[in-house]
């Protein structure tokens, strides 16, 4: 197992180098630099001189070929220096990302937990009641939810729950008087603000995961060993939970592993609609602004999480399936 882990980590390290090298090459070769859309460059009443632009390009290292700049970036990363965001007034990228992590996690972790808590029972229930009228109704509803774009749902929810009924706040993460609230009131305030984004975050994946579990279960319940268990007089609950569900865990674990980077990636459109200070907007804006260091910082983080997620999934295979061992 240890040998396997070392080999996987080594491979992961090389993959990281490859990903960051390619992404760095791509972003540096896109037309434009962080200076292109700098408001200072766009102000029609002023024109930054060519000498000043050259000076800035030199200062920021844009005069160097991209592959050379990549190794400079890599060297800085080795010293845990993620660089600075030029469009954000040279703010350190590490601090910029750290600022967005809590808000992103509030939505993604809550949504993920809710998705699993709801989709597993729903998937199992669908399996047990497969073909019944109630199961078909639920399936149709889930398909409808899956097809409904989250930004449309967000707008409807805003109009209904915030504007018409006034039950939930329309936007933002906290209320005006947040600073003066008690700890409980603060928590409740954030919960209220997070409710609509979480609903929008969750309903699509709820539909997907429950259908995913149902599809896998449908395959497993037709297996001989399930028939055997039933023939032996094992209770239906135990057949489904102990014999069938456990055997559908491998694809579910793969899916879980792949959701790890998603925990921090945020969602561009939902964050924008609800004015939620998450990671999605940061990534999106940094690409538009050619904010090289921020793009690379986020790329590195997402790549690392993806690789870790896959590694975690592989290790979990051994936990959920005794037939799997690593040498």
């Amino acid at each position: 197992m240890l040998h396997y882990l070392v080999r996987r980590i080594g491979m992961g390290f090389l993959t990281l180098l490859f990903i960051t090298f390619v992404v760095y090459g791509l972003v540096r070769n896109m037309p434009g630099t962080p200076l292109t859309t700098d408001p200072a460059m766009m102000d029609p009443s002023k024109q930054i001189s060519a000498e000043e632009i050259q000076r800035l390009e030199k200062l920021y290292g844009f005069d160097k070929p991209w592959y050379q700049a990549y190794f400079i970036w890599l060297g800085n990363i080795a010293r845990l220096d993620f660089g600075k965001s030029i469009p954000q007034n040279n703010k350190p990228v590490g601090a910029l990302i750290a600022q967005r992590v809590p808000a992103t996690l509030i939505l993604s972790v809550t949504s993920l937990v809710l998705t699993y808590l709801l989709s597993i029972p729903l998937g199992l229930w669908s399996t047990v009641h497969s073909g019944s009228a109630s199961e078909r109704l639920v399936s149709t509803l889930l398909y409808m939810l899956y097809s409904l774009p989250s930004f449309v749902a967000a707008l409807f929810l805003q109009i209904l729950l915030a504007v018409k009924l006034g039950w939930l706040p329309l936007f933002g993460m906290t209320s005006d008087g947040y600073d003066t609230m008690s700890t409980f009131a603060k928590t409740w305030d954030i919960c209220q603000h997070a409710m609509m984004p979480i609903i929008c975050f969750t309903y699509g994946s709820l539909a997907y995961y429950s259908r995913f579990i149902r599809a896998n279960m449908q395959e497993v319940v037709r297996q001989d060993y399930i028939r055997t268990a039933r023939a032996k007089g094992v209770s239906p609950r135990r057949v489904i939970w102990h014999h069938a569900f456990r055997n559908t865990l491998i694809p579910l674990v793969t899916l879980m592993g792949l959701t790890l980077p998603g925990l921090l990636s945020g969602a561009v459109i939902l964050e924008q609609i609800f004015t939620w200070p998450g990671m999605g907007r940061l990534y999106f804006e940094s690409i538009g602004q050619r904010d090289y260091d921020t793009i690379m910082g986020l790329t590195l983080m997402f790549s690392l999480l993806t690789l870790l997620g896959q590694l975690l999934a592989d290790v979990l295979y051994a936990v959920v399936d005794p037939r799997v061992t690593y040498h």
């Binding site: 180098l17 896109m30 400079i72 609609i273």
Partner: protein, 638 residues
């Protein structure tokens, strides 16, 4: 095993490159040593007594922006409606718009009677405040923040006439040779930490801006045209210019930071962003304006509170009391959410998108709490033609493009009557627009075809596409038009394509990401492109768009007479004479059609019905004096 071998090989390859790069570089860690004002050319200012002796001064205006506006409104006459009537109106015609603006734009009485001084205003911005440091100002949000919190010694009215504000300045004089400006500050000005604002702060700020290690390109541009700033005592500072130019006034003003706060820390962290000390200042800045920052939640909101030490000094009121006790600014990026927040009363003003103005703000859900106004804004849109391509080098071809476009379709269908016809580089309501200004183009396909024929673009092979022999090769008239990705940008460019189809010209419309579009036009890598410009406070700001070889002359336009006239305009100080010069430039550009000028876009604003005192300049309701200062909430409802 294979993996390990690859790892070793890779490391052998990567490490030398990485270490070599590390030796060469670092981008951020190897800062140059700090030398305050090292970009300033050596200059030895004369003693004040000597300067006074040899200088003949011209007094410049020192005015109260609010009173300037009051006089302007008085000259316009009394509003036709009562406040109650204006608030009941729906803004669905020019007449109603004028009535709402003239009634609700009326200022509060000079003594502030009837103003609710305990009121809070909740404003809206679409992007977060990146920095509270006035030197790091760049985006619209920062300009709005600084407008409320920063100290300044120069301002301009809605007609872009510069003056020194009475709130901060005792006198402003310019030498007759236009090379020196002298300001005397009031002695009752304080920073938010109680320390006095002095001329030393102004000199120090100039030196900081002109320091290589301090990265402030936005504020250095213009300030770098000054030779020196000398503080002779706490109240008197003199600005020395390099050359006597009409544009010197626009360069006079730069952001001022407190010397006592930054003088010890700037050398250690010249970018003013990383040290703990500067990071703390970011959230707790020492400000010199009417308001000071009391709360900042990144990407969500920032809150400013009225500063008593701004308007009271040593126990007595010395300046007008700012109308709002608190100003909360909500950051809402999504325009739909912002409109819902406005309708729900969670924000009290916002810029409306044209489609919001036209179709989402006409019912009671909007008018229950709000009203809306539109006003002229000098923001113009155009197609720019790259003259260095074989297609657009001939002015007749460019004129043909302008005769081809279907303006009626643009104004009646695409813009739904909300935009105005564009009549060239200067706005028809501006002082630099010529008296015998040109009439707008209209669609005339016959004329366009005649011009293309005359320019040698004919359909010689009968394939329906015009062509021309250039350098021995037959070149079809087929070009690409870059446009931005908004709905209007795509619609307008597509309309042009459809019009050109009718005269045998093929146009490929290419919606392009904003950064790519900007870089492409800046590098002159385009054939035709759609673009737009806002307005500077002086026509000289157009120099960088029209003078040969300038940075924003994207279409490579070159006309020696235009170059010469821009230079003349810079040396002429009389506005009437300057108007003649810029009028001629306007007409020359219209003749040459380096752009096909399309439309002017208005300002569209929504305001809570609780607000009064908003008026507009060609740069919107805030970016002039009094701007925000005149907006208030009345103590009693009408």
């Amino acid at each position: 095993m294979r993996i390990q071998r690859w790892s070793l090989l890779s490391l052998c390859f990567l490490l030398p490159l990485a270490t070599q790069s590390l030796r060469e570089m670092p981008l951020w860690s190897a800062e140059k040593s700090f030398e305050l004002g090292n970009l300033i050319e050596p200059f030895d200012p004369p003693p004040l007594a000597e300067l006074e002796k040899k200088t003949e001064w011209i007094d410049q205006p020192v005015l109260d922006g609010m009173e300037v506006m009051r006089a302007y409104l008085k000259a316009k006459g009394k509003p036709q409606l009562s406040v109650k009537q204006a608030l009941a109106l729906h803004n669905d015609s020019d007449a109603h718009n004028g009535q709402i603006l003239s009634t609700l734009g009326q200022l509060a009485p000079a003594d502030g009677k009837g103003v609710d001084f305990d009121a809070t205003l909740v404003r809206h911005v679409s992007g977060d405040l990146k920095s509270t440091n006035p030197l790091l100002i760049s985006s619209v949000t920062e300009f709005e923040f600084q407008g409320l919190t920063s100290f300044g010694y120069l301002s301009f009215d809605r007609d872009f006439h510069y003056f020194a504000p009475t709130e901060t300045v005792v006198s402003w004089q310019t030498s007759k040779d236009r090379l020196v400006d002298k300001f005397i500050l009031r002695d009752d000005l304080t920073w938010s930490d109680g320390k006095p604002i002095t001329a030393r702060d102004v000199q120090f700020s100039f030196q900081v801006i002109m320091t290589d290690a301090v990265v402030v390109p936005a504020v250095r541009t213009g300030t770098d045209q000054l030779r020196w700033v000398e503080a002779y005592d706490d109240q008197t500072f003199v600005i020395f210019h390099k050359r006597a130019l009409a544009t010197n006034t626009t360069n006079l003003s730069f952001p001022v930071i407190p010397k006592h706060i930054y003088q010890a820390s700037i050398a250690e962290d010249p970018r003013m962003t990383t040290s703990d000390y500067h990071s703390r200042l970011e959230d707790h800045p020492v400000t010199g304006g009417a308001y000071t920052l009391v709360k900042r939640v990144r990407n969500q909101e920032f809150v400013m509170r009225r500063r008593e030490s701004y308007y009271r000094h040593q126990g007595r009121q010395v300046r007008r009391k700012p109308y709002f006790k608190e100003v909360r600014v909500k950051v809402i990026e999504d325009a739909n959410t912002a409109l819902l927040a406005l309708k729900g009363g969670q924000i009290e003003e916002m810029i409306l998108r044209p489609e919001q103005w036209a179709s989402q703000t006409g019912d009671e859900s909007f008018y229950a709490r709000n009203t809306k106004v539109t006003a002229l804004e000098w923001t113009s849109f155009h197609f720019v033609w790259n003259i260095k391509t074989p297609y657009f080098s001939d002015p007749r071809v460019r004129q043909a493009m302008s005769w081809t476009f279907d303006y009626d379709e643009l104004f009646e269908t695409i813009s739904r009557g909300m935009y105005q016809r564009n009549r060239g580089t200067f706005h028809p309501t501006s002082w630099m627009f010529p008296q015998d200004g040109p009439e707008p183009y209209h669609q005339d396909l016959d004329r366009a075809e005649d011009l293309l024929d005359a320019a040698g673009w004919e359909d010689s092979d009968g394939d329906g596409i015009r062509d021309k022999v250039i350098d021995g090769k037959r070149v079809p008239f087929e070009f690409t038009m870059l446009t931005y990705q908004s709905q209007t940008g795509i619609q307008v460019a597509t309309l042009m394509k459809e019009c050109l189809d009718q005269i045998g010209v093929v146009c490929h419309v290419k919606p392009t990401e904003f950064t790519v579009l900007t870089q492409r036009v800046r590098d002159h890598q385009f054939q035709g492109a759609m673009g737009g410009w806002g307005s500077g406070t002086d026509p000289d700001t157009s120099t960088n768009i029209w003078v040969s070889g300038e940075g924003r002359n994207y279409g490579n336009y070159s006309n020696p007479r235009v170059d010469e006239l821009f230079e003349q305009g810079r040396h002429e100080f009389d506005r009437k004479k300057r108007a003649v010069i810029y009028g001629e430039i306007h007409k020359l550009l219209w003749r040459d059609q380096p752009y096909t000028w399309l439309f002017y876009r208005n300002a569209f604003y929504a305001f809570s019905k609780k607000l009064r005192g908003y008026n507009f300049s060609p740069r919107g309701p805030f970016d002039y004096s009094p701007g925000f200062d005149s907006i208030y909430k009345p103590a009693a409802a009408p």
